[in-house]
Symmetry: C2
Subunit: 518 residues, 2 copies
């Protein structure tokens, strides 16, 4: 007798807005009626492949309308979706498939070439289904003919605390962990966010962050709960994003800071082409204030929303805004906060002993609420470490003001401890990025015989500019305490990014150590 199930939103949309576009992708628009009809046949296809309630179905693909109907078809048949990171190595993909013992793997054209290698490792995958135009090799089932020939099945409406998805994370921290999210987690989180950032039903979102990442998946669920339209881009290309916003009258977009920067630097960027855009949400990694300034001035009609969340909290748990460039002065420092913890969640900030710290003091952010994950698949020790007495320990260092506005200082593991002082890498990065020659940067702690750790910066310069280590350190010295300033600076052509656009600091640290010991 489930009460909360992700297909519920589809049934309601069919009753209320049957002919409204649910997905717009690659020049093809499908209504909610068509989406429901196809999802019911995808469910039939999966049942035909012997998939039953609780079985895991993995998807290794870029964003598409097929991805959306696959997710809904998986939920329709009561199975668990495992959206895999399309940028991962074969080893990481195979590890995740084996970890959750996926019965079926769905791949698109882009990733078809990896299938043989994946299959040779993940031998328990019973069926591989291919979505796309390429001709698959023998032993791989073509998707479209099978969906067309499958019959719709009845929706058993499974949900509540049953698993809806397992999202593997680990781009920045060791071996992948499967975050278990239930129907109640995803629906509860999405409804709570809608209650805070009121979205009319005529919202049109551009899904450009990957659906295999919680930011894309969560925004999709929000749109489905609302019965609103989704324009889908297979990946982030700044020119294509501008084109899609203009063509489809997109009102809402979610971007990570690195995407926002690429958008502003795109030669075809023109605020007039983005006139339909009403809200731009950002999160996933710290937003450099200089980048936010530039974006808000370039897009004065857009309401910006700063958000905070993680896979383990089913996505966003706090939102600041929307606010425009006109609102910003009155907000003062608060525009750097990630807002207040939202409906359906409780937040505390704890010291190392687990006691609450007062406003203004940095501690670990812990969370509790409807959207907090059920745990890590198959990893009881990691689950027990993350979920203690009902509280999710986020690993983020932060503080709150007297009115509950939250400021994220850093990932605890990205915090540099030098000579006994805590240095928040995000703070140093915000200063570096404000230098006119710096296009991107990352600050890490590197081993130091004298200080334990030393502050080290890795910098990408803007084309046609120049800066050396000394000039950047001088720039920092006038803006930061001495111990916070980078002792060493490396110049590189680009930073290693995760699929979600986060800098892979673990890789930077590993590279630094290898070089130092080489």
């Amino acid at each position: 007798m489930t009460a909360i199930y992700l297909t519920q939103v589809l049934h309601r949309a069919v009753q209320q807005v049957p002919d409204k576009p649910a997905t717009i992708c690659a020049g093809r628009s499908r209504s909610f009626r068509q989406l429901a009809e196809r999802a019911s046949r995808v469910a039939g296809m999966l049942r035909g492949l012997d998939v039953h309630a609780g079985d895991r179905v993995a998807i290794l693909a870029r964003n598409s309308d097929s991805y959306v109907e696959l997710l809904l078809g998986i939920w329709w048949v009561g199975a668990v979706a495992v959206p895999l990171n399309a940028r991962w190595s074969v080893g990481e993909v195979a590890y995740s498939l084996a970890d959750c013992a996926a019965a079926v793997l769905v791949v698109d054209d882009f990733l078809l070439q990896l299938v043989d290698e994946i299959r040779s490792i993940a031998t328990h995958v019973r069926h591989v289904v291919h979505v796309g135009d390429a001709s698959p090799a023998a032993g791989i089932i073509p998707y479209e003919p099978l969906v067309s020939s499958s019959s719709a099945i009845t929706d058993d409406r499974r949900g509540d605390d049953e698993l809806a998805a397992i999202l593997y994370t680990g781009g920045t921290t060791g071996s992948p962990k499967g975050v278990m999210l239930s129907h109640a987690n995803l629906c509860g989180g999405a409804t709570a966010r809608l209650a805070e950032m009121f979205s009319p039903r005529d919202t049109v979102v551009l899904l450009v962050t990957p659906l295999f990442h919680v930011s894309g998946l969560f925004r999709l669920v929000m749109q489905l709960v609302l019965g609103a339209s989704n324009v889908i881009e297979p990946g982030f290309r700044p020119d294509a994003v501008i084109e899609a916003i203009e063509r489809h009258g997109v009102t809402d977009i979610v971007l990570v800071p690195s995407m926002l920067q690429m958008l502003l630097e795109e030669p075809t960027f023109d605020a007039g082409r983005l006139s339909s855009l009403q809200r731009l949400s950002y999160g996933g990694s710290p937003m450099p204030p200089a980048l936010l300034d530039r974006a808000m001035q370039a897009l004065p009609h857009v309401g910006f929303c700063s958000s905070y969340g993680m896979t383990e909290s089913s996505g966003v748990v706090s939102v600041l805004g929307p606010f425009t460039v006109a609102d910003r002065e009155a907000m003062g420092k608060r525009s750097r906060s990630v807002g207040r913890v939202g409906l359906g969640a409780e937040l505390r900030i704890l010291d190392a002993e687990g006691c609450d710290v007062p406003p203004g003091t940095v501690g670990e952010i812990v969370l509790r609420g409807a959207a907090v994950m059920k745990g890590y698949w198959n990893k009881p020790a990691e689950t027990a470490a993350a979920l203690r007495e009902g509280w999710l320990h986020t690993g983020d260092a932060g503080w709150r003001d007297e009115e509950g506005h939250i400021y994220v200082a850093d990932r605890l593991k990205d915090m540099v401890i030098t000579g006994g002082e805590n240095v928040y890498s995000a703070e140093v990065e915000a200063v570096l990025i404000a230098h006119p020659a710096v296009s991107a940067c990352a600050v890490i702690g590197v081993p130091s015989a004298q200080w334990g750790e030393a502050v080290h910066a890795v910098v990408v310069l803007r084309p046609g500019t120049h800066a050396d280590s000394q000039s950047l350190r001088d720039h920092c010295r006038t803006r930061l305490a001495g111990y916070k300033c980078p002792q060493t600076v490396d110049f590189v052509d680009g930073l290693p990014l995760s699929a979600a656009g986060k800098v892979l600091k673990r890789r930077l640290r590993d590279e630094h150590v290898s070089r130092a010991t080489a």
Copy 2:
């Protein structure tokens, strides 16, 4: 490891808006910090009275700020609140107390006089606590001194599917049934409604429908989830309501149609005094179109919201609006709908065989979703009849249009079947109330040898007007099919109303039968 708990909203409000008024009642304002502090001591008081998780604590009182802190204190200690209907007879109250085996009963001044009689029947009640100014008799514990002397206890944060409240219903249908509502039911329903009818955090609601009724309790939970202020009136007095709106800048109010009519007829009514009012929600019984017209014209600045729900669905599940008199023409017939089923719920309309009927056809409204009750306390047969395969059978006859707007035709049990034709009493009442001499009316089916049932009207005339049976039947004849027109009309001074303002049709039918057989 609960994720959804009603005290969560209190902890969040203390972190974010500690000094904002949570309750304003009888000239006394208490902030969220004070409310949390008192709720934690009410919990300590209850623990001192040997109340533990899952125990039932009954409240027999009119609305007050103490009522609010009692509810939160009960949830803080993990117990179950049983708000009892303050208008019920001693027999009904004692039945409910015995049915749920309440350990503690809290009463206010107004109901103190009934305690001895109640206690003589409900002998298992361990403690009676008295809130108020009167001097209680021996054996009754005074509330305020005990709260003051009790220590705060730690919130165990119990919630999710555990019971938060048992609401006894039955004013219109046989012996009282205890509707079991969980923390997830009340929080889920409130969050979903907030997502649809965006309420800014500076909303000020006037709680005037009783907190022992789901309409009052649900609106309180919505305000708490939002961290917004509650002005509390002990009962509905039109002059006091106008005064409270003006004095406290009330923005939102929930009224049943009979209250709205009394408000408009109040001699001190003046739209200028209600200038702060932004939204007026109505529901609970059918809204006569003539009354809605009159109210919208009298309050052209107010957005009206038509809502539909019941105790078994934790309150409102669909909302139309807010819409003002200026919007109404464009809405056409739709202004008579109760909106579309909201987030977190799915609605179907079924025929007698349990099959879906097409748009435009009347059937029974069935519901499924996060806010649907867990069942009736101690009544497995009634629970099985109401909840079938996860669907709540509402007993309401209704239909939907092509875009999912819902129209409630009647309570199935209030439908009159005459000569094989279905007559919806609400339809006939809407025609009668439009007659200038009719102040209130109810249409019921009465036994008829010829037709099975005959349509019978009970009418209250406006003071100073005149109409007889024939003139009312003539009025109906020009507007309704012949078989729908009342065959007989009784004139009375007033209609029996439940505490929620609903006409007690069962009593009217019983009285008619007694008179006919006398």
